[in-house]
Symmetry: C4
């Protein structure tokens, strides 16, 4: 009679992702009065923080949606693993607000980087859970799947770099994360360009 | 022409759950200035409250998603019963904020525990409604279903314990709820461990 | 290539309903310090406003989910009619906050009642659009459908009563709306009781 | 094993749209005390901003839901293009609040118009991506599709007009956007009226 539902696990995840990327905007405060030096400085940092955080969460979502598409059996372990993963995702708006409102203080930068590390850790664990379950259901890893799994591992290593940056030069954290996302996009393009060349 | 829709009952429930666990984060205020003693004390309590509340709501969601998977007929009674259940769920962010902002005062602790009691009561009622409807639709209770139903009854009894704790030692409420969730996880693991042993 | 999608019209509606009933909670402010006379008076009014508004929105949702279940063709007219209907629904959290924060002032009571009147008006219009479309698609109105359509008309008339109450005795508006919802529930029970008796 | 999911791309989009149109309401502040001249002036501007923004977002949603209904293959390019499009959509509540809280200052009007321009640009790009993919999947453009694509191009040109208005007469921006939406509705009606005449 009672059974775990993949549809609902996906529905609550997409709901959480949608609310997270949207409520982060509530923390961008409109400038009061004229756009003086300080006000526009604050606004630029808040907008930049928002855009970087949007990029970070969007990237997690892209991996998350790919992960579950072909999953057949939803065990309670995967269901709860997914909730563990969503918990730090929900904290990203808080970390973003702290970061931008403190003009990227050291404590806030470390918290942001640590949070990304935790999300990446749970993401890796979730990928393992799903891959193991898929194997039990006789699905085999394709080349694309292995590539994605390597990306997830790479994301964990990169978040260690973010942690180090936040400890040494917190002010540059956002720029480094932004470059990190950009470089991933570029690397993917280069890989695809060479693969297409090889295919021809 | 007009007919109750199970898909939509589930969609609004997942929407509510997703928004509830995400907007609770809006109440965690970033520390202002240095992380002094008082500021970090406040932050720790706010984060702890958030994590415990996330655990509480996530647990309700796990039961909720299991409950409806195989339901065939959505009567107006079940539809409205579900709305009664969602109403106190929506109040959890308020109770969490009160709890953390008052540094777990007696009134806030009692309110939080009372709210959990109400949710558990409606949850039990909702399980009864669905089980009765499923029986009418010739679905039989499996061992797993009976186990889940007992868990729901146990949750109601445990929330009475929370109420007593909130009356006697309000400051410990969050710790006790945290231990409650942990112990449920452990008990489930022990039961499964012995069942697997028996199966071999 | 491009086509209106019933699934998405329903998805955005459920999303809006879910967010509306959940963010109304953000306006309940936790009491500061001891629960003095004024503070608890305010809290009671805020909780009462929340519960009544929850009931009002839940009732709209119940009608909304019934309305579209069997709809086959989604015209641009229905799609836009639905957006017109959702617009005042989105304003309900604002009207509720105003009502409770002003301790039910005359202006806020009139606004709340007027908003309900507008929602009811668009609801009636939406029902007409859907019924006409269903007729074109050769679906016939059952007794239950006619009953529901009458309820929607009755809701419009009742909201005129709310408007009058808000003009004459604004302080009683919430109580009257609460009684209105209760009486609807009771009337439905009485009708069903007699129908069951007749059926035996 | 891992695969992009159209269902989830649509789910997160509808979630974002639903949250965006609903949280904009949080910025309408209830009047404090009597509805004096200034207070009611502010309230009227906030309500007007809300209604116009609702219309703007609703219009984007109508095009967005049409766009993906018949899409068969979801490439990573479309998936990411959609996220680029959603990012400025998420910023609309911020731009709306700024606009109304500054009583439509020049800076806020330019920001609002520039944001609309960006959304329209990404919208056009997204339409191109989807049309190209659909062509590869052997779907042909119907007359209706071409009409919609022209509308999307027209929206981009109109947003240039909004930009000019925001530079010259910022106070009139909301009125002009409101007229823009209205005129689109009227033009559509006129076109349909003549088409129906031609069909007879």
């Amino acid at each position: 009679m009672f059974k775990n539902s993949k549809e609902r696990m996906i529905a609550i995840s997409d709901g959480v992702f949608a609310v997270v990327i949207t409520i982060m905007v509530l923390d961008i405060k409109e400038p009061i009065g004229n756009l003086s030096g300080l006000e526009s400085h604050r606004l630029v940092i808040q907008l930049l923080s928002y855009l970087i955080s949007f990029g970070v969460v969007a990237q997690y979502w892209v991996f998350h949606q790919e992960l579950f598409t072909n999953l057949k059996t939803v065990t309670i372990k995967i269901l709860i693993g997914n909730l563990y993963y969503l918990c730090p995702i929900c904290l990203i708006p808080f970390a973003t607000t702290w970061l931008s409102n403190s003009f990227i203080s050291k404590e806030s930068a470390i918290s942001f980087a640590a949070l990304m590390f935790i999300v990446n850790l749970f993401q890796l664990w979730l990928f393992r859970l799903v891959i193991n379950q898929n194997r039990r259901d006789r699905l085999r890893l394709t080349n694309h799947d292995i590539e994605e799994f390597w990306s997830v591992k790479a994301m964990l290593s990169i978040s260690v770099v973010y942690l180090i940056v936040s400890l040494l030069v917190p002010k540059l954290l956002l720029v480094v994360i932004g470059l990190g996302i950009l470089s991933r996009v570029l690397v993917t393009r280069v890989i695809r360009f060479y693969q297409r060349k090889k295919d021809l």
